[in-house]
């Protein structure tokens, strides 16, 4: 799974969000590192919807413009949790190796 896709799923895990809301949330979750563009965002949303990981929650008209809110499906929540675990395991494995390197260097 690519990083922007992971962050998009995380952005709507706690609450449904609309397009711009997802862009903002992804920026916050990545400490400003990942700035989503509209083309990339909607390409990812399209793919995720096709895979059954997200779905539309509701629509609202604000100042005459259409906002469409997306949320995670049950499958989406499962997949996000599994991916978060996987990344955690990778990070722990890397930290383990770093600790060994430091210990070995100090000896």
């Amino acid at each position: 799974m690519q990083e922007p896709t992971f962050l998009i799923l995380a952005a709507i895990a706690a609450q449904p969000r609309h397009g711009y809301g997802i862009v903002q949330a992804v920026g916050e979750l990545s400490s400003g590192e990942v700035k989503l563009r509209a083309g990339t965002l909607y390409g990812a949303l399209d793919r995720l919807a096709e895979q059954g990981l997200i779905e539309m929650d509701h629509e609202e008209a604000v100042e005459g413009r259409l906002r469409r809110y997306y949320k995670l499906t049950d499958d989406g929540t499962r997949v996000l949790a599994a991916e978060a675990d996987r990344l955690q395991r990778r990070a722990d494995a890397a930290r383990g190796q770093l600790r060994l390197a430091i210990a070995g260097g100090a000896a």
Partner: protein, 341 residues
């Protein structure tokens, strides 16, 4: 509508129509809220990507590959036809007789038909009315060659055949091959043979027979290959568009489209195979100037082979495949209603 909104709407044209109807407004809203003054160019890349996006389901991928093969063949056939438009026309009957006269001086002996049109070539058969003796067969051959050259043709190849060791022991009136001759002029190629006869201790000019056909022009291969590439892309876009359209369709509708697609591919198989075989022939003989060009679109004509499949099979299947393909792409009534405002 503000200027930015107008610009975004224009950029959205990169997306397929269906997708624009489904998501256009929300994308513009998002762009307006993001507030990038010069942004939105990633929409073009996104739109093109969306047009080519295929669902990963194996059946769809297999269908896409097969459809792309068929549309690539269709595109290459169209390119081949366009390429042949640039070929030189075959010589007129008068011009062909002129060539034969230059070769044998008085063609038309033995009740033969000097000029005959068969498919993409002219068959030339020049048998002299009078007997033209010569001291040796080589002289006969070079006389013919010089006559042809003098009338404006460029001799591209001239090979004298090995002399027949005992012409006197052959049946009287036998034709012996004297020389092989290739000529070219104004985009037309001639591939021919000079024969001599041996009779009562003397050598005579037997005749000059040849085929004349158009040479392959420089435009032919690029047009054919280019057509094939465009056809390939068109097939991909078609499958992607259909797959997107069928997303929200019933299982019954999807099965019907799958069945129609399968039927179209089956019916398209004979013409596709015929064109691919012709393409292999073309590739093998690409620089061979002894034959007319193996054009791809000529593989779709009524066959001239007596043995084998029925002669009308390939052209009939080509037409049927096009009709079935068009039928497959017709939207169902439910899909039409969905797009109503």
């Amino acid at each position: 509508m503000t200027g930015d909104e107008r610009r975004y709407r224009r950029l959205l044209l990169a997306y397929p129509g269906r997708y624009r109807r489904d998501h256009g407004t929300e994308i513009v809203t998002t762009l307006m809220e993001m507030g990038e003054p010069g942004g939105g160019w990633d929409l073009i890349a996104g739109g093109v990507r969306q047009r080519f996006r295929l669902p990963g389901r194996p059946l769809v991928v297999v269908a896409a590959v097969l459809v792309m093969l068929a549309t690539a063949v269709l595109g290459a056939v169209a390119g081949s036809w366009a390429g042949e438009r640039t070929f030189a026309p075959l010589p007129s009957r008068a011009a062909a007789l002129g060539l034969l006269t230059a070769a044998v001086s008085d063609p038309g002996g033995d009740d033969s038909v000097p000029v005959l049109r068969i498919g993409d070539s002219l068959l030339l058969d020049g048998v002299p009315v009078a007997r033209h003796p010569a001291s040796d067969p080589d002289r006969i051959a070079t006389t013919v060659r010089d006559g042809i050259a003098a009338s404006g043709w460029t001799i591209t190849s001239f090979t004298v055949a090995p002399a027949y060791p005992h012409p006197e022991s052959a049946q009287p009136g036998t034709f012996f091959s004297g020389a092989y001759l290739d000529a070219a002029r104004d985009g037309v190629l001639v591939h021919g043979r000079v024969d001599y006869r041996y009779d009562a201790g003397r050598f005579y000019l037997g005749g000059f027979t040849a085929t004349a056909f158009a040479a392959r022009t420089a435009a032919y291969l690029p047009l054919t290959v280019g057509g094939g590439v465009l056809g390939l892309l068109a097939g991909w876009l078609l499958v992607a568009a259909m797959a997107y359209r069928l997303r929200s369709s019933s299982v019954g509708r999807r099965r019907a489209v799958a069945a129609l697609t399968g039927a179209t591919l089956v019916v398209a198989a004979p013409p596709v195979v015929a064109v691919v075989l012709r393409a292999i022939q073309l590739a093998i003989h690409v620089d061979d100037r002894r034959f007319p060009v193996f054009t791809l679109h000529s593989a779709l004509r009524v066959s001239t082979y007596v043995d084998g499949p029925p002669t009308w099979l390939v052209p009939a299947c080509a037409v049927a495949a096009l009709l079935l393909g068009a039928l497959t792409m017709l939207p169902a009534r439910q899909e039409k209603l969905q797009t109503a405002p």
